[in-house]
């Protein structure tokens, strides 16, 4: 059986695009009294487990998942991390 890898995907709205959710959170933090907060952006995180022969293959497949489904290539950027599951 192939080893298991834990994949974490982070999907963020592209920097150049307006992120109204981030702005709303920023305003709320300010209202709470947290001063000097800037650059708040809201994205999403996904975790999944992959059975693959090695981490290289796990990363390749995870990248392909991001490109085809998990992130929208027009509006979002993604980063991913892959680590073996004990």
């Amino acid at each position: 059986m192939s080893p298991k890898f834990a994949v974490e995907v982070r999907v963020m709205p592209r920097r150049a695009l307006l992120d109204p959710q981030g702005q709303a959170v920023e305003h709320a933090l300010d209202a709470l009294g947290f001063k000097g907060v800037g650059g708040v952006r809201v994205g999403k995180a996904l975790t999944l487990e992959l059975e693959r022969p090695d981490s290289g293959q796990a990363e390749d497949d995870a990248r392909s998942m991001c490109e085809r489904l998990l992130a929208n290539p027009v509006t979002e950027d993604f980063t991913l991390s892959v680590r073996p599951v004990e």
Partner: protein
């Protein structure tokens, strides 16, 4: 009689109004479930509004992988007319049948209100019955209707007459260039955020939306290879 498939996804909720508007325009309209793989010899395909698959992940992101979408893709590639309304527009963008994407409204509110739109081109199967430049009132109802596209795509849309509808006055979602609807380069696939099926009957006040469906019928009568 023109055969028109209205696709139903789990979470579609404008399917009945869309079917009715197509029938009132004179189409033989019928439902096709998203798990079906055939469009039953459809001449045109309508993707109605709603919240297919609960808008999980992103609006339209899951629906584009429904079995029926392969048939819709084939229909579109063969030049068949396809109209996506609201959630249907989101599905078409996710499927790559239309350029760009629809993001969360700039003001974070769900925009449910009547808006005025201008018909920027009559050269699509769904606007042929309008005068170019005509405006009409039509409801919008969406949380993710802010159309965006990369600068080079936007330039092409504007230069090649691919903007179909544009908001006049109030832009309910902050879309770039006030865009409310676009078409592909082949001009057979159209996506619009407003709901013409909700403004297609004098009983509900505005009825200019009926022309979207009348356009579809009118265009069907133009023989293939016609002048437009």
């Amino acid at each position: 009689m023109m055969r028109v498939a209205v696709i139903r996804f789990p979470g579609s909720n404008c399917d009945a109004d869309t079917l009715r508007a197509a029938r009132n325009a004179g189409a033989d309209a019928y439902y096709v479930w998203h798990r079906d793989r055939h469009l039953q010899r459809a001449d045109a395909v309508l993707l109605p509004g709603g919240f297919a698959f609960g808008d999980y992940l992103r609006a339209g992101a899951i629906a584009r992988f429904s079995p029926v979408m392969a048939a819709v893709q084939a229909h579109a590639e063969a030049g068949g007319p396809v109209l996506g309304i609201c959630n249907g527009f989101q599905v078409l963008c996710e499927a790559g049948l239309l350029p760009g994407a629809l993001m969360r409204n700039a003001r974070l509110t769900f925009a449910s209100l009547p808006v005025r739109v201008r018909v920027e081109t009559d050269d699509t199967p769904f606007t042929a019955a309008f005068e170019r430049g005509a405006t009409f009132m039509v409801p919008v109802a969406h949380g993710e209707g802010r159309y965006v596209a990369p600068p080079e795509v936007l330039r092409q849309l504007e230069a090649e007459d691919q903007v179909v509808l544009r908001y006049v006055g109030e832009n309910p979602n902050g879309s770039v260039n006030d865009i409310a609807g676009v078409t592909n380069t082949e001009r057979n696939v159209v996506g619009i955020m407003p709901h013409p099926e909700r403004a297609a009957d004098p009983l509900v006040g505005e009825s200019a939306g009926a022309k979207v469906f009348e356009s579809m019928i009118r265009r069907a009568r133009v023989p293939l290879g016609g002048t437009r």
